[in-house]
Amino acid sequence: MTTEAVAPLLVIRGLRIEGRAEESWHEIVCGVDLTLHRGEVLGLIGESGAGKSTVGLAAMGFARDGCRISGGSIEFDGIDLRAASRSVRRGLRGKRIAYVAQSAAASFNPAHRLLDQYCEAPLIHGVMGRAEAEHDAVDLYRRMQLPDPDEIGFRYPHQVSGGQLQRAMTAMAMACRPDLIVFDEPTTALDVTTQIEVLSAIRDIVDQFGTAAIYITHDLAVVAQMADRIKVLLRGEEVEEADTRTMLAAPREAYTKSLWAVRSYQRDERPPPPDAETPVVEMRGVTAGYGSLDVLHDVGFRVHRGRTVAVVGESGSGKSTAARVITGLLPPSAGEVLLDGVALPPDYRRRARTQLREIQMIYQMADTALNPKHRIREIVGRPMAFYLGLRGRALEARVRDLLALIELEPDEFIDRLPSELSGGQKQRIGIARALAAEPRLVICDEVTSALDQLVAEGILRLLDRLQTELDLAYMFITHDLATVRAIADEVVVMKEGRVVEQGPKSAMFRPPHDPYTELLLSSVPEMDPDWLDRLLSERASGVGGATDAPAARP
């Protein structure tokens, strides 16, 4: 694919970038080298804070506000981007180097139509005229398999779905036929089923135009499908770099191995509960919605003590709405919620304090779910005082016990503010707050999806241990089937507000499936670099994807 005789497209040597925090500069990228040839796709992976996006942006000679490139060289096709004038850099951006952002919904300007935003780069760089650019846009929209390519450009960003926006953004990046595109986590915010469409569209178009790309992601299985080579970053430094297949088959460094190993975490399904046992919580025929719009239709499932029920589905399938019905935040229009076989009042304001205590929640964004002005002592202590009436020394002792239980050193953490914690530690505090009420059912709403894989795994192991020790029932809302495989005993698959399939985990991952479950299962990326090709050709030939249930493999 690459020949040594041809000069590389992008050469970065000893790149150092500093970020400003609390009135002083700290190095966030410490001497990274990177070489990219024409038509080549390099995967940049690492956890959050590894400096992936910062390096990706530096390849465009760009540093975000509050960051500065402090050392090293960046040479794009013989042009020294650090020495080049602003106008030279501006002339390259959008024309020869383009960028695809993580959240297309936030990165499209809400005030302008998609087509106007598409035409902007070609027009300001003088690559083509308006009419030609519009014509070209329709062509690219069609290649990106966007619905209604002739008309979609006339819509505003809010009128187009997330997956479609992401494709429109890739089309926009292609507008001037750049030599290099930086993809910054382009599918991270998407559902698995949408992710496949975007991935295949991106790969086709990069192939067709022979564009080189830097593909930034924290998802190893995704990078395995997209990249020719993979570079692993950790805290601003390179861990290792290798050809994709080599890297997947034989990672050299311990850190890389640990990244690979995360995916293998899996717990066996617990034996089913006795038939006579009353479930801790049961939903029966619940229909609920907002205003006149029903979001849930006749939803029912049970959660037994000591067991985990994973509720899976794409965004908008009604998973979180079901949790709102159980907690009483959204009274249903039909059906009921039973606690230990007794119907609960639909509205939480009419529930007794003991009933409220039994059901607690852990939220996706620990960042926003913890009051930034409260210390850990107050955050964890408050539910104990409220539900259990603990005061003074007894309260203090209980808070300390709980912190020890979630594996945080009490002396060190009890007086901290949430801002003084890492993402994983915040989520542990979220867990401690839920447990403080001594509940029987804990609803976990996407609790690991905002976390890096290693940290997420720690949280999953902790939840699992707590479940065994405290005999808790979990309702685990997630869209990530790897998480389901790791922790579930039973699975409830939801689509458009209905339960399409439910049963024990072992049955869920074994065919035959409901067609929708099968689509979900087969859409989960695998580490095998040929997975996407195989899947697409299978789907194209109508075999139906995963009759051999790839997701069931370890």
Binding site: A101, F108, N109, A111, Y156
Partner: protein, 314 residues
């Protein structure tokens, strides 16, 4: 949209009604009445009483209010208590003067503050940005009459512009603009800071958005980023501040009118309050309230129109 406008107009009418009650009540609370004001201290109680009867002031307050309200509902503002002239005649000329001056000041101030604000956002934290901030903030910090006298000192002493803005009916526009330049400039200085700073802040607030970063990564230049990518999304707050300032130009200019001896509505209202000429005060207050209600409605409609998410539904 039409539903919203209708709703807001209905609420506006309710607001006007409440304001008329408040004004009427407030004037009733003032010591003395028009009969005492006109007849002076030497009048005998009998004359005052007779005069009151003639004006209908002996009737209970709520009946007088209802009478007046009935008239207004039929489009009749009533007659001045002081000189018996129809209020409509009395106010028409004054209102035209006030609107003329407000429009004059707005035509200078709105484009000026938008331009200054946009430039300040573009060259934020530069020397220019600081200079504009210092200048506009100082001009808003001084009392209006002080700004007016400073302008008179520098621009009227030399004979460049007249210090008395006496407008005669039938004067041609150029002459009128020349005569009212100083009051218009004073008002401009008073309202510019607010609008300019909101424009600057609303734009800068958006410059950290992902879509602005995207525009920069597409190679868009700084001027185009501010004008085309940030400004359209910053319009709603800017429009609302402009509306508030325009309303101020109509209703809050009495000091400037006094300094430049300009026959506007504000002066009439103040005179009428001191004369306890309730009916004129009521009419002027209603007009001011109308200005607020209508300008705010226009601002809401415009900021809705500036947001594609509200105009183009999914």
């Amino acid at each position: 949209m039409l539903q919203m406008i209708a709703q807001r107009l209905a609420l506006g009418v309710l607001t006007l009604f409440l304001i008329s009650v408040l004004i009427f009540g407030a004037i009733e609370l003032l010591p003395g009445d028009i009969a005492e004001e006109i007849l002076g201290q030497s009048a005998t109680p009998e004359t005052v009483e007779a005069f009151r009867r003639e004006l209908g002031l002996d009737r209970p307050a709520h009946l007088r209010y209802l009478d007046w309200l009935g008239g207004v509902a039929q489009g009749d503002l009533g007659h001045s208590l002081a000189n018996r002239r129809p209020i409509a005649d009395l106010i028409a000329g004054r209102l035209a003067n006030t609107l003329f001056l407000a429009l004059y000041a707005a035509v200078i101030a709105v484009p000026l503050s938008l331009a200054l604000g946009i430039l300040a956002a573009l060259y934020r934290n530069s020397l220019y940005d600081r200079a504009v901030n210092v200048f506009t903030l100082s001009s808003i910090s001084f009392p209006e009459f002080f700004v007016a006298y400073i302008l008179i000192f520098f621009l009227a002493q030399s004979g460049l512009f007249p210090s008395i803005a006496r407008v005669t009916p039938g004067a041609d526009l150029a002459d009128k603009l020349h005569r009212t330049f100083l009051p218009a400039l004073t008002l401009t200085l008073v309202v510019t800071a607010h609008m300019m700073r909101m424009t600057r802040a609303a734009i800068i607030n958006l410059l950290a958005s992902p879509y602005i970063e995207m525009a920069r990564l597409k190679g868009v230049g700084p001027a185009r980023i501010v004008l085309r990518h940030a400004l359209p999304n910053a319009l709603a707050p800017i429009i609302n501040v402009i509306a508030l300032n325009l309303a101020y130009l109509i209703t809050g200019v009495v000091v400037v009118e006094v300094v430049f001896v300009y026959p506007g509505l504000g002066q009439l209202m103040v005179d009428s309050v001191s004369k306890r000429d309730v009916t004129v005060v009521q009419a002027a207050a209603l007009i001011f309230a109308c200005a607020y209600v209508l300008l705010n409605l226009v601002a809401d409609v415009l900021s809705t129109l500036s947001n594609p998410r509200l105009v183009h539904r999914r």
